[in-house]
């Protein structure tokens, strides 16, 4: 492990390990591997790890361990994590694109200078990877939107997109779990539930998992309109 990283304090009870750079599979691999290595070791005083695109946050009890002790464990885990791979699962997410399920598809296509059909086929061709959960329960951020579909967020958030909305912004894609206002572009809807609150493990994906989208028509989508 010789690649650059930085370890930064976050208040008195957390540290942020920053692998730097932009969103990429390589960097996400490093985050996921270190997360797995630290979970396996469970050093005293480590309470929680939060993986993100290029960073891993560690929360600790400052009365049970110190920044220095945890830092040493992190460096040791990094040396070993460099070579290990974490088991990833592949999921297929059925999507009903456009129409009432993807109200922003036409506008997104116009912004991109593509036909709606071309946007759909480009989105289907992408290889997606869950890099992190963020924002709110079950919001699994996937990287892998093909560059020709990269759009900035809308200037302001819009309300009224139901759970299961498939939306894109920049290189990112996600399937919503809550009915929340968003500035992302909703191009379709999926019946796949990432958050099932009543389950003991309510979250479908884990960081590192791979997702493939599959187009389905409204009749077979398992979705209800309205």
């Amino acid at each position: 492990m010789t690649e650059a990283f930085a370890i930064r304090p976050v208040g008195e009870a957390a540290m942020l390990i920053d692998f730097g750079g932009a969103i990429s599979t390589t960097v996400s691999d490093r985050v996921v591997s270190l997360d797995a290595a630290l979970s396996a070791r469970a050093p005293a005083g480590l309470l929680e790890c939060v993986p993100a695109y290029t960073t891993l946050l560690l929360m600790f009890d400052p009365l049970l361990t110190t920044f220095e002790a945890l830092e040493a464990t992190v460096l040791e885990a990094m040396r070993q994590a460099g070579t290990s791979t974490v088991e990833a699962t592949e999921f297929v997410a059925p999507v009903c694109y456009g129409g009432e399920f993807g109200p922003d598809l036409a506008m997104a296509a116009e912004q991109l200078g593509l036909t709606p059909e071309a946007v759909v086929s480009a989105h289907l061709a992408g290889e997606y990877r869950v890099c992190m959960y963020g924002f709110a329960p079950g919001y699994a951020y996937m990287a892998g939107v093909p560059p020709r579909l990269h759009l900035p967020r809308k200037p302001s958030a819009v309300r009224g997109y139901p759970v299961g909305s498939v939306m894109i912004a920049g290189a990112q894609c996600l399937i919503t779990t809550l009915d929340m206002p968003t500035g992302w572009w909703v191009i379709g809807r999926s019946a796949l539930r990432i958050l099932e609150p009543e389950k003991a493990q309510p979250f479908l994906f884990k960081p590192g998992d791979r997702i493939r989208f599959e187009a389905v028509d409204a009749a077979r989508s398992g979705l209800r309109g309205g």
């Binding site: 930064r8 304090p9 976050v10 208040g11 008195e12 009870a13 957390a14 942020l16 920053d18 932009a22 969103i23 997360d35 309470l47 929680e48 790890c49 939060v50 993986p51 993100a52 695109y53 290029t54 960073t55 946050l57 929360m59 400052p62 009365l63 110190t66 920044f67 992190m132 959960y133 963020g134 924002f135 709110a136 329960p137 079950g138 919001y139 699994a140 951020y141 809550l178 929340m180 609150p197 309510p202 979250f203 960081p207």
Partner: protein, 336 residues
């Protein structure tokens, strides 16, 4: 087991069920939730002899009013919660009382703070989510919001607590110096912005909810907002593109693309959160080592305060247990 049945006559929009918090799920986008002001919450539980992580009702602007329909249950109020009308009960805050069938408990949020707690000598019957009754306000998951017209049942309700006032902690006084550890995304700011952060004063605002509080003060525009989303924590001072500072609270989003210029030490987060609009304070930068010392000191202070206000019943039962243990030890000594 005794059950007390309460009807919610009125409740402000930010009235929710909260317990000690939901830990270990932040990697799935779930913040810890739990009380905004942990010390006030723990004080009311301690005064009743409860476990510190039991569920309670958190109130904010608008207060709440409960009518006891059936049964009886002792309660304690703390923080901003101020008993304004309770049949047969004296008004006031930071106190213990008992609610019996037909009685009404009306709690106002006094003008000196933003968040208050109503704890019960019993278990609030609500569905847990991921092992916790804390309400994640954004999704409504957990114990949930408390709304007018509904009923709340308190299981294993006991009504034996003696009415008394137990007094606020010393740290209840308005905060004038809030300590911060710079970072983790201070690299997004020029030296000028970092200077303003610690030289100018900031003001609490009315723009708050369970996710955060907007702080008024100098604008600290980041040099760039083109940041990859990074994890965020309670106490983070997040700065938006316009340079506006928000302090994140218990229901914060777990990641965010706005840079966090600094992190408020745990002991001072709830004190800022309790500051009413217009209260001014300054940020004092400390090293991470100093922040750990502050944490250690504040934990000791809290433990001392909580032991002072502990319910007399639980104190006597502890003494009894102690004597009993002593007696057994003596007995063993005698045998040898």
């Amino acid at each position: 087991m005794a059950v007390a049945r309460l009807r919610v006559e009125q409740a402000g929009p930010m009235t929710t069920v909260q317990d000690g918090g939901r830990f270990g799920w932040m990697r799935y986008g779930v913040p810890h939730s739990g009380p905004i002001d942990r010390l006030s919450f723990e004080a009311a539980h301690t005064a009743l002899g409860n476990r510190l992580d039991q569920a309670a009702i958190e109130v904010s602007l608008g207060g709440a009013a409960l009518v006891c329909l059936e049964g009886e249950v002792s309660f304690a109020v703390s923080g901003a919660a101020f008993v304004s009308a309770a049949d047969g009960l004296d008004g006031g805050g930071w106190g213990v009382g008992t609610l019996r069938a037909g009685m009404r408990l009306s709690v106002k949020v006094a003008g000196e703070a933003n968040w208050g707690y109503i704890c019960f000598a019993g278990q609030v019957r609500r569905p847990p989510w991921l092992g916790s009754l804390s309400t994640h306000a954004l999704s409504g998951l957990g114990g949930g919001r408390i709304v007018a017209g509904e009923e709340i049942e308190i299981d294993a309700a006991s009504a034996g607590a003696e009415a008394r006032a137990f007094g606020a902690p010393q740290s209840w006084a308005p905060i004038s110096n809030a300590r911060i550890v710079i970072g983790p995304q201070d690299r997004f700011f020029e030296r000028d912005a970092l200077g303003l952060l610690v030289q100018e004063s900031f003001r609490a605002s009315a723009g708050f909810d369970r996710m955060g509080m907007v702080l008024e003060g100098p604008r600290l525009p980041p040099v760039s907002v083109d940041m990859v989303s990074e994890p965020a924590l309670r106490g983070a001072l997040q700065v938006d593109g316009a340079g506006r500072v928000t302090m994140l609270l218990a229901d914060h989003q777990t990641t965010g693309g706005y840079p966090k210029i600094a992190t408020v030490v745990a002991a001072d987060v709830e004190r800022i959160a309790q500051s009413t609009a217009g209260k001014t304070f300054r940020f004092i930068p400390v090293t991470r080592q100093a922040a750990v010392d502050i944490y250690r000191g504040s934990q000791a202070e809290r433990a001392e305060y909580l032991s002072r206000i502990r319910s007399p019943e639980s104190l006597s039962s502890r003494l009894l247990k102690h004597n009993l243990v002593g007696g057994v030890a003596d007995g063993l000594g005698f045998k040898e």
